[in-house]
Amino acid sequence: MSETRIQLIGGGLAGLMAAIRVAELGHPVDLFSVVPVRRSHSVCAQGGINAAKNLKGEGDSTWQHFDDTVYGGDFLQNQPLVKGMCEAAPGIIDLLDRMGVTFNRTAEGLLDFRRFGGTLYHRTAFAGATTGQQLLYALDEQVRRYEAEGRIRKLEGWMFLSAVLDDAGVSRGVCAVSLRSGEIRAFPGDATIVATGGIGSIFGQSTNSVACTGSAQSALFQQGVHYANAEMIQVHPTAIPGEDKCRLISESVRGEGGRVWVPKTPHDARDPRTIPEAERFYFLEEWYPKYGNLVPRDVATRAIHKVVHEEGLGVDGKAMVYLDVTHLPREMLMRKLGGVLEIYEKFVGLDPCEHPMKVFPAQHYTMGGLWVDNETQATNVPGIYAAGECDYQYHGANRLGANSLLSCLYGGMLAGPAAVRYARNLTVSAEATPASVFAREQKRQEEIYDRLRNQEGNESPIRIWREMGETMTRHVTVTRYNKDLAAADAKLAELQERYRSINLADRARWGNQSLHFTRELGNMLVLARLVSQSAILRDESRGAHYKPEFPDRDDERWLRTIRARYEGGKFQFEFDPVDTSLIPPRKRSYKS
């Protein structure tokens, strides 16, 4: 029997880690990525990665990390996996360190740690303010090494379209399209690990990269993979609003002492530097004295919304607050936060060491995602695994800062060997699967593409995308009302209708980016509807999901995973109990 071949979809941290683990076990890997993997969205992670190494004499422990994570996620996680992740974290940091990640160091040459949101410990290892980039590069290099050894084949510039499912509903490979030539092809594979990251694009402007469309997750969902807690969307409190995207200003800025404030007088037109202390409202520090500026993101985001929209104290009367580091020494700022302050200076044109930054919340992360089991990252479809931001585990209703890099790596570490185990035990390999199974899926995808290329109408994909983004950002982010959510869903249904009238200006096959984008847009719309419908269902406030009409957490009814299935073009929802066997749920408050 030929060797089992494992397919990786996505070349971010989770995908690369899974690829390394599979290659290490001696199995050939096909690594699909829409971008050269070194350009994956993981590069955007700034602040750091959590691990309770307790190198600062604070008595930190993996249990404390676990507790902070579960508490921060408002108890919506299945706890055993989270515990496993927190226990693995120190070892993961060691591994990254051995791979050559340029973590910041203490005078003794040990790893330095900084504080982050939702914890009182120095638990976050960091490489300047471009930790994700440094981690991704380290893994990219390890993958390149395996590639040079002939153990990994990279298919960069190939976009995942669908899984190839046989008659028994078992995954036998994937169908993908070359973004360059437009060729559609089915690739046999014994197991497939999906690591396609976030879905920011359905919110229009988010902090996500362009590649984060969620198209793969949506395609799989439509093929029968379950999707869980879709409504759990993290909005990061501090980003720079932009035309093309919102650029993140890392939580580590606050971790290193940055302070959030607004002038006490509405529409205060003075230069912020001339506003005296007494006339500044440090609302986070005032409202949350224990955690101060380092409350979890959902809390900080809601506080900013409150101060701006309810109290009308936004800077210049606009939806913005100050994030201020001007009181901190420039040398320290450049050494520990250079990468992120550079972004502000480049894109806004002001030196943040001199001028308080103007920031506002922006969509940032999806806690929800493809449903996976509680042990191996396996989805409900045999042969398909998911890891990283695209799965739903680990973060519950709100992710703590610097836990995402960790969960990506941990998920990848689990998924790789699990997929290998599964593939080794297959009685019929993908190679032995009848060619007709692959031909059928390839033909289905080719027909979808042909339809898009040839359809007539007067709609532009960009316009539909913009309207979807505006709808989602307005109604399905920080504050959610059922009436608005229903309106958003109706609007999305209308957009789905208009999608059929998209008239592409470019009908070529070669390098036709708008064609591929339009293909993804169809999937994005499905996912957007799933997010808004899940949000309608959850009548409570938990973590990032906040409904003023239901301001409290309702464990009785809603300590549940909302698991969605796609059946005959409709969403079916199930409500699974959450495994809270280790830490009993308690009231979540960061006030004291």
Partner: protein
């Protein structure tokens, strides 16, 4: 429209083993090229400027110095090994290196980029000048050139002009070449060290130009500022 980075493989090949690159002979020839610029060519240049500086003392001292050099033992093999072969190698290999680059100074008009371009043109000018200079002063005079042969050459204003251009080109090429050498052999690494080396090499280049021009003017104006040494 949000557009992803379009990546690489078009039709994916099977995974293939990629061995590490192997060292290539071109490394040796390139390093030899930059070395010959300093030793022996640069060293000879210094010697040449030194012995010609006798013109600044007096005609007799110049002729004496010339005679001494023209009567060294093993003259032809020494000249061939120390001058002709290194010079020809440096010149022709330099042109080969030039052919592998494509100047873009019109787009990127940075200082070091100009220096890169000038290094090539001054190298060419210097190469032609040296060839002509050798033809005039070495072969036309059967290796017995003296003060009056050189004076006669420089009496021609066109020839004089070429001498001035040639000396400036040689001096620039040598001065900048020293800096290149310091970089290409990793003698300086840090930006501060690079800058210091640039100053040092630049100073040497300017000194060579000044000395070279002084020698030329010595012939043209019968100018012997150090004559009092001989009195």
């Amino acid at each position: 429209m949000p557009v992803k980075a379009v990546a690489t493989a078009e039709v994916p090949p099977e995974a293939t083993v990629v061995p590490a690159a192997k060292p290539d002979r071109s490394y040796f020839w390139d390093k030899l090229h930059s070395l010959t610029g300093i030793i022996p060519i640069g060293a000879f240049l210094a010697e040449h400027f030194w012995s010609n500086s006798y013109a600044l003392v007096s005609v007799d001292r110049y002729n004496q110095a010339s005679y001494d050099l023209q009567t060294i033992p093993w003259r032809v093999p020494v000249e061939a090994l120390m001058i002709w072969i290194p010079l020809l190698y440096h010149g022709f290999y330099g042109i080969y290196i030039w052919s592998k680059g494509k100047s873009n100074v019109t787009r990127y008009d940075y200082g070091a980029n100009w220096m890169y371009v000038l290094q090539r043109w001054t190298g060419l000018v210097a190469f032609v000048f040296i060839g002509w200079h050798v033809y005039l002063e070495r072969f036309l005079t059967q290796g017995k050139s003296d003060y009056f042969d050189v004076s006669a050459t420089l009496a021609n204003p066109l020839f004089l002009g070429f001498y001035v251009v040639g000396i400036l080109a040689v001096s620039y090429h040598f001065g900048n070449g020293l800096w290149q050498f310091a970089n290409k052999w990793g003698l300086v690494v840090g930006r501060g060290a690079q800058r210091k080396a640039a100053w040092a090499a630049g100073t040497i280049g300017v000194l060579f130009a000044l000395v070279g021009l002084a020698i030329v003017f010595s012939f043209v104006f019968q100018w012997h500022p150090f004559q009092f040494y001989a009195q």
